[in-house]
């Protein structure tokens, strides 16, 4: 079953995880039938926005099986707006990513409102990594304010996945990324139950989690083969126009 990974990374981390060279990443993708991976720069997430986004843009320009997330950070508003203008319009960029554990700002603020407004012209989603319940509440408010902007909850908010799923039930522009290092056994079926069949997508969070960790979770989820296929590729194909 071919897989689209909507949430992967490229570059080094502060954690003890080896940065993968492009060819290693792509070889691993091939090994596990991942036909497309959407990658965000780890360096950009950790703060070096321009350098990191440039590196990813260069990488995906060479690789048909990769797509880019443009990382943005409300602490660097002007730079983030420039990055959106520079990259999000490109065909191989799937949208923009914010990571609250690094930017440490409320998710609903005048700053994030400006970033979302800038995204609206491109009709591409925002991938948001949250820290916990307060961030989820902020994201919910942002999603309510901008109902035409699809917002993907990265890793379904980790251990707070129940709250994330319930928000997606009522907020139809929220999408759930069901992968990552949280492998709670009821998570994926609950995501489908709350968000419906079309708004759950698959992300590995690699290299922070090995792809098979999330693949194993979908494999074991109490869902039909058709539902699993929708999660692994169908919903992402539709969301990103792949």
């Amino acid at each position: 079953m071919p897989i689209i990974d909507i949430h992967a990374h490229y570059g080094n981390w502060v954690w003890p995880v080896r940065a993968q060279a492009l060819d290693e990443m792509r070889a691993q993708m091939k090994r596990f039938a991942i036909t497309r991976a959407c990658v965000a720069s780890s360096v950009a997430i950790m703060g070096e926005l321009a350098e990191g986004n440039a590196a990813v843009a260069e990488a995906v320009a060479e690789c048909e099986d990769l797509r880019a997330w443009c990382v943005i950070n409300p602490n660097f508003l002007e730079l983030s707006l420039e990055q959106i203008q520079k990259y999000v319009r490109q065909d191989r960029c799937v949208g923009a990513k914010m990571h609250a554990a690094y930017h440490m700002q409320p998710l609903h603020s005048p700053l994030t409102e400006q970033l979302v407004k800038a995204m609206l012209r491109y009709d591409k989603p925002l991938l948001v990594q949250v820290r916990g319940e307060a961030d989820l509440a902020g994201l919910d408010a942002l999603a309510a304010q901008f109902p035409s902007c699809r917002m993907i909850i990265g890793n379904m908010a980790g251990p707070h996945w129940q709250i994330a799923a319930r928000l997606a039930r009522t907020r139809t522009n929220l999408v759930l990324d069901c992968g990552g290092p949280c492998a709670d056994r009821d998570k994926i079926a609950y995501a489908m139950e709350q968000a419906g069949p079309n708004r759950v997508v698959f992300g590995t969070d690699q290299p922070l989690a090995h792809p098979v960790f999330s693949i194993g979770a979908v494999r074991d989820a109490a869902l039909s083969p058709a539902q699993k296929d929708a999660i692994l590729q169908g919903n992402a194909q539709r969301l990103f126009g792949l």
């Binding site: 492998a183 709670d184 290299p207 090995h210 960790f213 999330s214």
Partner: protein
């Protein structure tokens, strides 16, 4: 690769207070049978959330009814000194491993009873599995393990504290790690490269966690067949099944 015998150090059965997930004994046994797990260490969650004595009784009973289960006794230091008496009883009864849940139960590793629990475990020679999800926890548990000569299995180690854990393993030879959320792309391989494979134990976290997440992670690990077999089951057998 011929399939190595799978032994799972980390399973539970009963209920989980904060999630409406089916973690019944029947569900656990079904998962273990489906994945051909030879032996699984397990405990009743009644012992974690309600009463360790009742929980340990249920654990023992489940192991008598299902021989593939190896019973784990748990103690809750929040109850104070009473747990220490039960430890001796359970060691006498035949429990081969103890487990502590400081993070789920909300107590500090500096708790006076925790030190006593580990000291007593050291005297009995019974290994102790302890939650060590937070940064700093592996270090604190490692110090206690060294002080009391008790074999400790760190549970819930993830990328977040893997660097710290590897330092602790390097300096403290009686510290082990179970793998259920050691999910990162090369975390298991890093531990094997730096420390060796003999102190890694396969854990699934079933039925709270998807079994295949942890299992496939190990099955597709970039390890020799011998290292893989060690982590998947041989280390468990050496630690818990051989007298």
């Amino acid at each position: 690769m011929s399939e190595a015998a799978i032994r799972d150090i980390n399973t539970v059965f009963g209920f989980w207070t904060s999630r409406p997930v089916d973690v019944s004994l029947e569900t656990l046994c079904g998962i273990l049978d489906k994945h051909k797990v030879t032996r699984a260490a397990t405990l009743s969650t009644v012992g974690v959330f309600v009463d360790s004595r009742r929980g340990n009784d249920r654990t023992w009973q489940a192991a008598q009814e299902h021989p593939q289960l190896l019973p784990v006794a748990t103690f809750d230091p929040r109850g104070g000194i009473g747990c220490l008496g039960e430890m001796a009883e359970r060691a006498e009864q035949g429990f081969r491993i103890f487990a502590l849940f400081p993070e789920t139960q909300g107590w500090s590793l500096d708790h006076a009873c925790c030190a006593e629990v580990l000291r007593l475990a050291g005297e009995t020679g019974i290994p102790v599995m302890a939650e060590a999800a937070s940064p700093g926890a592996p270090t604190r548990i490692g110090r206690l393990a060294e002080q009391y000569g008790v074999r400790v299995i760190l549970s819930q180690v993830s990328l977040r504290n893997l660097g710290e854990t590897m330092m602790v393993m390097k300096s403290t030879p009686n510290v082990f790690v179970e793998t259920h959320i050691l999910a990162s792309s090369d975390g298991i391989e890093l531990v094997v490269d730096e420390i060796g494979s003999d102190r890694l134990l396969f854990g699934s976290g079933a039925p709270l966690q998807y079994f295949s997440s942890a299992y496939l992670r190990l099955r597709f690990a970039d390890l020799t067949a011998s290292d893989k077999a060690a982590v998947l089951g041989a280390n468990f057998a050496r630690l818990l099944e051989q007298t």
